[in-house]
Amino acid sequence: MSRASSPALRTHIMVRVGSFIFSLFFLFQVASAQTFVQGKALADASLKEKAVWMEKLASDDSEEATRILQYWLDGILVYWPQENRLVRGIKEGRRYQLQDLMTEEALGAVSSREIDRVKTNNSLRSALKQVLGSRQLGSSDRNVRLSAIAELKRRPDYKVLPLLKKREASEQDDQVARQLSELIGLVLLESAEANEQMEGLRRISGGLSPEVKDSLSRFLLNPNLDPGVVEVAQRELDAITRSLMYWGIGQDLFFGLSLGSVLLLAAIGLAITFGVMGVINMAHGEFIMLGAYTTFVIQQWIPATSMWSLLISIPTAFVVSGTAGIILERLVIRHLYGRPLETLLATFGVSLILQQLVRTVFGPLNQSVVTPDLLSGALDINAAFSVTYNRLFVIAFALCVLVTLWGVMQRTPFGVRVRAVTMNRGMASSMGVQTQRVDALAFGLGSGIAGMGGVALSQLTNVGPNLGQSYIVDSFMVVVFGGVGNLFGTVFAALSLGVANKMLEPLSGAVLAKILILVFIILFIQKRPRGLFALKGRAAED
C-alpha cells in the first residue's frame, strides 16, 4: 500500500514510529515473567465467577491477558498445580504437552490428572470472542483490524462502545475508519436512547452490507422506539433496499456482459464458418475445449500465477485450434460441400472423437486452470457490487478480438475475399477468388477464435472434456438469433442473450432461465427464420 500525498506520508511515519514503540513494549512483555498468579482461582471458578474473571482480564491491556483469553477460547488454557501457574496444554493422545504461556517453552508432558483445564461454555465462548475481537482492533495489521470489525459487526454489542470510540479516535487508515464508523453505528442501534439511535442511523446511512440491512430490520422490530427514530430508520431501510436493488441489477448486468462475451467468443467463429460455407460445425465446441486445454498445458511449463502464461496461451490456443480447424476442413468438410446436414453429422462425429481423445490423454476429471495473480481478486466498489478481474479480462479480451476481427474483415484483402464468398460464392469464384483457399482459411480463423475463447473460458470455469458441449447449444442459439454473415448481429445476440440469462436467473433460477431463453428463441425463429440481422437477398432457397 503506497500513500502518495504528503499528509498521508506524515501519518505513515507516525504509524511507523508508533508501531516501533509498540514492538519495544511487546518485546518487554515477552521477556517479562508471568504476572498473572490467580490461576488456581480461575480454574476453580464457577461459570458465573469466570465471567467476572473474563471482564477483569478484558480490562487489562497486556499481551499476557490477550494470550490467556485466546488460549481460554481455544480450550488449551490449563492450570498446573505443581508450579502454581497457568500454562498452555495441548492434548496429545492421553497426555498433555505443557508450554509456557509467554515464551512457549516446552515444559514436558503430564497426564490429565496432574492439571486442571480452564473450562468454558458456549455463552462464555462467544463473550470471549467479543473481547478478543475488540482487542484485535488495536492490532497494527490493518487486515486483522478489518476482520475483527467484520466479526464484531455480526453481533453488535453495546458494551464495547467505549472501546470502539477510543479506537476510532486513533484510527489512521481511511477504510478501517469507515468500517469502524459503520460498526459504531450498528452498536449504537443497540442503545436505548433515542439520540444515540439517531447517531447510529446517521453513521450507517449509505451502508450496503447485509449486516447493516439485517440490523436495521431487527431494529425496527423493537416496540419501544421513538416515532421520529422509526421514521428515519424506515427511510434508511427503504433507501438501502432500493440501492441494493440497483446495485444488484448492475451486478447482474456485469455478469451478463461477461457471459455474453464468452458466448460471443464461442459464437463468432461459428458465425464465420456458417456464413462463409453454410456449414454448421458441431465440433466447434471442441475447439473451445482445445483452447482451454492448451492453457492448462502451458501452465504446466510456465508458472501459472504469472500473467505471461496466459498471454502466451492466447496465440498458442489460436494456432492449435486453428490448425485443427484447417485439418478438419481439408480432410472432411471439403468433401461434403453443399450438403449441410451431412456436414453437421460428420463434424459431430469429429467432436465425439476429440472429446474422447482429450478424455484419454488428460483423464475424465476436470482440470483446474490457475488464474494469474493479476486477474484474481476483485475491485470492491461496495458491499453489493464488485467487479472480478477475471470477468473484466474476459470482457476486455472479447472486445479486443472483436475489434481485430472487424479490422481483418473490413480492411484486409483476405477479409474482402471472405465477405465476397459469403455473399455470392459463384460470383466470387468467377472473379478469381480461390474459394477453396478462402474456405480453409476462414474455417481456421473461426476455429482459432474458438480456441482463444477457450483460454478466456478457462479463467471462469473448470476445464473438462465436456466443456465444449455445454457451450455449443448456446453458441448455436446466438448464431440463430443474430443471423448469419453479420458480425454486428452476432455481437448483439451474444450480449443480449448473456444479459437476459443473468437477469432472469435471480427471478426464476438458473435452469428455468435457460429454458425460458431456449423457448424464446424457438418462438423467435418462427417470426424471423433467418435471424435478427439476416443478409438481405433475393436468392431462392433451392
Binding site: 454448421i280 451431412e342 481423445l357 431456449l518 418462427q526 417470426k527 432457397e541
Partner: protein, 369 residues
C-alpha cells in the same frame, strides 16, 4: 430387385426372431435349453425398440428431408407416459407406502398428485398418452416451425434446442417427474410382475411386433400419393410448393406420425430397462439415433432398422470390453458413413450386388442432400 431382396431379408429375419422366441420361450418348456435367457431377451427387446425409433426418424429424415436432432425427446415422452403408469401401479409397495403418491413425491413433501398425473392409473389412458404426448408436442412445434418455413440446419438446431430445453426442465424436481432420478423401481405391468421371464418375453415379442407394424405402416404410407409428395418435398421443397402442394401440411403429418411412433418405441423400452430419466432427453441421445439411420441407410426403412441394431450391438460390445474406444468408434462411424456410405450399409450392399451383376450402380446420392 436385389434391393428388394435385401429388404425382404431384413423383414424376414425380424419375423424369424419373433417366431423363434415365441416357440422357444413360450411354447416349449425351459428345460429344452433353446430358450433365450432374460439378459439376452432384454438386450434384444431394447434393440428392437431402438429400431422402431430409427424407423420413425427415417420417415421424416430419409423421406421428408427433416433432420430432427430431437427425436429422443419424443421417445422419452412416450417412455415417461409409460413410466407414469408403472409408477401408479406400485401403489402401497413403495418405500414410503403412500397409497397414491409415488415415492419421490412423498420425499419432496408433496400433499397431492399433480393434475397431469391423473388418469395414469388406467392403462388405456397411459396407452393413449404414449401417442398423444409426443404427438401434441410434435404438432405444436412442427406447426410453428413448418409454417414459418424454418428448414435445413436451422430446423435441426432448433429441434436440438427443444430436446435440450426438455432435458433441463425434466431435471427439475418441481416438474413432478422425479427430477434427476427419473422414474424407476417399477413393480408390475397389467398385474404381472415385470421381473418375471414371462413378462420379459412378451415385452420383447410386442417390441418385435411393433417394429413390424411400424415398418409395414410406413411402407404402405410411402407407397401412396402422400408418400410420393413427401419424397418430392425432400428433393425440392420449393418446386413442390410451386406445384400447388401445401408443403407444411405434408411435413406436419409426417412429423407427428414419426413422433408417435417414437413415443411407442419409448413406451416399450421403459418397462424392459426398468428406468426412465432425463438423461434420455440429452442431445447426444438424439444424435445417436441419426447415426443409426445414416449408417443403416437413410431413405430406407429397413436400412434404418438394421442400422439401429448394428450400432447398438457394437455399443454393447464396446462399452462392455473397450469403454474408452466407444466414442472413437461412434465418431468414426459418423464420419465414415457420411463420407463413404451416403446411403448406408444397405445402400452399399445394393450397389455392390448390382456391380456383381454387371450393371452400373445407381447414382448413389441422387436426391439425398
Amino acid at each position: 430387385m436385389i434391393g428388394l431382396r435385401l429388404r425382404q431379408l431384413v423383414f424376414a429375419s425380424i419375423i424369424a426372431l419373433i417366431a423363434y422366441v415365441f416357440l422357444a420361450n413360450v411354447m416349449f418348456p425351459a428345460s429344452m435349453g433353446v430358450a433365450l435367457d432374460s439378459y439376452s431377451l432384454t438386450i434384444v427387446g431394447k434393440y428392437l425398440c431402438f429400431a422402431i425409433l430409427a424407423v420413425a426418424l427415417d420417415l421424416v429424415w430419409g423421406y421428408c428431408g427433416i433432420l430432427s436432432l430431437g427425436h429422443a425427446a419424443f421417445f422419452s415422452l412416450g417412455g415417461y407416459a409409460m413410466g407414469m403408469y408403472l409408477m401408479r401401479q406400485i401403489g402401497e409397495r413403495g418405500t414410503y407406502g403412500h397409497p397414491v403418491l409415488p415415492d419421490f413425491m412423498v420425499f419432496l413433501n408433496w400433499e397431492q398428485l399433480p393434475w397431469f398425473w391423473y388418469g395414469f392409473d388406467a392403462f388405456w389412458f397411459a396407452g393413449l398418452m404414449i401417442f398423444f404426448a409426443p404427438g401434441i408436442l410434435a404438432f405444436v412445434f412442427g406447426w410453428f416451425a413448418f409454417r414459418s418455413r424454418v428448414s435445413g440446419v436451422y430446423l435441426s438446431i432448433i429441434t436440438q434446442a427443444l430436446t435440450y430445453a426438455l432435458m433441463l426442465a425434466f431435471f427439475r424436481n418441481e416438474m413432478g417427474f422425479g427430477g434427476n432420478n427419473g422414474l424407476t423401481d417399477f413393480k408390475d405391468l397389467l398385474g404381472y410382475p415385470l421381473t418375471s421371464d414371462g413378462v420379459r418375453v412378451w415385452l420383447m415379442l410386442s417390441s418385435g411386433l411393433a417394429l413390424l407394424l411400424s415398418l409395414f405402416l410406413c411402407q404402405k404410407l410411402l407407397a401412396t400419393k402422400f408418400g410420393r409428395v413427401l419424397v418430392a418435398v425432400r428433393d425440392s421443397e420449393s418446386r413442390t410448393r410451386f406445384l400447388g402442394y401445401r408443403v407444411e401440411h405434408f411435413k406436419l403429418v409426417a412429423f407427428v406420425m414419426s413422433a408417435m411412433i417414437a413415443g411407442l418405441a419409448g413406451a416399450l423400452y421403459v418397462p424392459q430397462v426398468g428406468i426412465i430419466n432425463p438423461g434420455e432427453f440429452s442431445p447426444l441421445a438424439s444424435i445417436e439415433v441419426v447415426v443409426w439411420v445414416a449408417l443403416g441407410g437413410r431413405g430406407s426403412l429397413y436400412g434404418a432398422a438394421l442400422g439401429a441394431i448394428v450400432v447398438n450391438a457394437a455399443k454393447t460390445f464396446f462399452t462392455g470390453f473397450y469403454p474408452e474406444a466407444w466414442l472413437f468408434f461412434l465418431g468414426a462411424m459418423f464420419v465414415i458413413s457420411t463420407l463413404y456410405l451416403p446411403r448406408g450399409i444397405l445402400g452399399a450392399l445394393e450397389d455392390l450386388a448390382q456391380q456383381v451383376k454387371g450393371k452400373a450402380p445407381k447414382l448413389s446420392q441422387e436426391g439425398l442432400s
